[in-house]
């Protein structure tokens, strides 16, 4: 690996070990590889949607180190030694998670591109606040953009999901 006068070796890679959806994964990555690209392209976790790639759309939202984060604003190297959870971990044995069921029942998606991000943001919201009112829901989903639904069905779905989870 050559080192130029910037003190930076040319295209270095680094070994990382990340716990993704409960499984430990070791990989060799360039530091500039975004966590979103690592999860979608290297790990083939296709629920991680790569949209704007600059922190605006929220489609790549995952749980990182215990809280939701936009994975295009994290580098995969930052996940070394950390835990990451994606929508793949929500359903068990093919059964939809109650939040996913609610999104399905309330028609909270049309094209579905943004849905993963909304599911992850909703999951954190309902874990912290099991009975949010409409304003709280809107605030909690403010980092996620949907260009199809106009949001109302998504907010309905969050309310329905809250009811489902309360009944469990």
């Amino acid at each position: 690996m050559s080192v130029d006068d910037t003190g930076r070796s040319d295209r270095p890679t680094q070994e990382i070990t990340v716990t993704v959806n409960g499984e430990s994964v070791t990989a060799e990555v360039e530091p500039r590889l975004k966590l979103s690209d690592f999860l979608r392209s290297h790990m083939e976790l296709r629920t991680v949607r790569v949209g704007c790639e600059q922190g605006v759309c929220g489609a790549c939202t995952v749980e990182f180190d215990g809280t939701v984060a936009k994975s295009c604003m994290l580098y995969a190297v930052q996940a070394d030694g950390r835990e990451v959870t994606t929508v793949e971990a929500l359903s068990e044995d093919g059964d939809l998670h109650p939040i996913q069921e609610a999104f399905h029942e309330e028609h909270a998606l049309q094209c579905g591109f943004c849905t993963s991000g909304f599911l992850m943001a909703t999951r954190e919201l309902l874990a912290e606040n099991p009975d949010p009112d409409r304003d709280v829901i809107e605030g909690a989903l403010a980092d996620n953009i949907c260009r199809c639904t106009g949001y109302q069905n998504i907010y309905d779905a969050v309310e329905t999901a809250a009811d489902k989870l309360e009944g469990e």
């Binding site: 930076r8 530091p31 295009c72 989903l141």
Partner: protein, 295 residues
């Protein structure tokens, strides 16, 4: 939207981080990455080295005693928003934190990052200006303290040297005894993710909240996105101080703000509109702060 190559460093102590910043050419500290990553994705910044300070637990503190409130640089917006200590001591700080983007961004973004970005539209620079905060900076050579007023120099240009790290800020409590103080942070913005067109931080201390006509002992107002730097409008403050609050004093404070600002025109807000916002939100911030002081 991929950043240029860089080398990644993850120090486990402040001393180690400062050594790296001193030794590495063209290095940037990496904290919440809610602004730097946008610049890097668009190749507006391409540092050769990133020094990840997320493991520096020693920069993650909120502490208050009788004299001051101290907040570490690595405290996340979400933690500021939910801090009971800050809600009791300096409520405009958590109010400002809650008005940054949405919760996913607030989970990651940090106090130090927002101050260091030096965006005149930012919430924390405005808070720091309003509350007369001191910024604490450290390098391998030592540490120093810079008043907010001197720290912000121009748009995204601050007094921080390249090998320095913001470690935290300290805010004096003496002007704001909670029982006689009201504070607020108002932001004018179209959507959560957008930068505010204008924001106003206000604080008012009265002599006796229970009096028929409480006298304003001290007033503070600072505006964001109204000039090249967060703008404390001292002339507006002095219009209120020393007397009970009147509509005439508020109107005079608003007029001084209209004149004091030097706003940059934006697509949906020309200079006159932003001056008018400065006038109106100076009045609203001071009114709200006063109402909370006497409540």
């Amino acid at each position: 939207m991929k950043p240029a190559p860089f080398e990644y460093h993850r120090p486990s102590s402040l001393a180690e981080a400062l050594e790296l910043l001193a030794d590495l050419p063209d290095a940037e500290p990496l904290a919440g990455n809610q602004s730097l990553s946008i610049l890097m994705s668009n190749r507006l910044a391409s540092p050769d080295h990133l020094v990840d300070i997320n493991d520096l637990a020693e920069l993650s503190y909120v502490a208050a005693d009788g004299q001051s409130v101290e907040v570490g640089a690595l405290v996340r917006h979400r933690e500021v928003e939910r801090s009971g200590t800050l809600a009791d001591a300096l409520p405009l700080f958590p109010e400002a934190a809650g008005k940054i983007a949405g919760p996913v961004v607030r989970n990651r973004g940090t106090v130090g990052g927002s101050l260091g970005e030096g965006d005149p539209a930012g919430n924390y620079p405005c808070v720091a200006a309003a509350l007369d905060a001191d910024l604490e900076l450290a390098s391998a050579d030592g540490s120093r303290t810079v008043p907010a007023e001197d720290f912000f120099i121009a748009t995204m240009f601050t007094d921080r040297e390249e090998d320095e790290l913001i470690t935290g800020l300290a805010i004096p409590r003496e002007p704001f005894p909670p029982a006689r103080t009201g504070q607020t942070f108002l932001a004018v913005k179209e959507a959560a993710q957008t930068w505010p067109t204008l924001s106003a931080a206000g604080a008012v201390r009265v002599d006796d909240p229970a009096a028929d006509e409480p006298v304003v002992e001290e007033a503070r107002v600072a505006l964001a996105n109204a000039a090249e730097v967060p703008l404390r409008v001292r002339e507006a403050e002095s219009e209120l101080a020393g007397e009970p609050l009147t509509d005439a004093a508020l109107a005079a404070a608003g007029e001084t703000a209209y004149e004091a600002v030097d706003p940059e025109e934006e697509l949906h807000a020309d200079e006159t509109y932003k001056r008018e916002l400065a006038r109106e939100y100076t009045k609203r911030a001071l009114t709200t702060a006063h109402d909370r002081a006497v409540a």
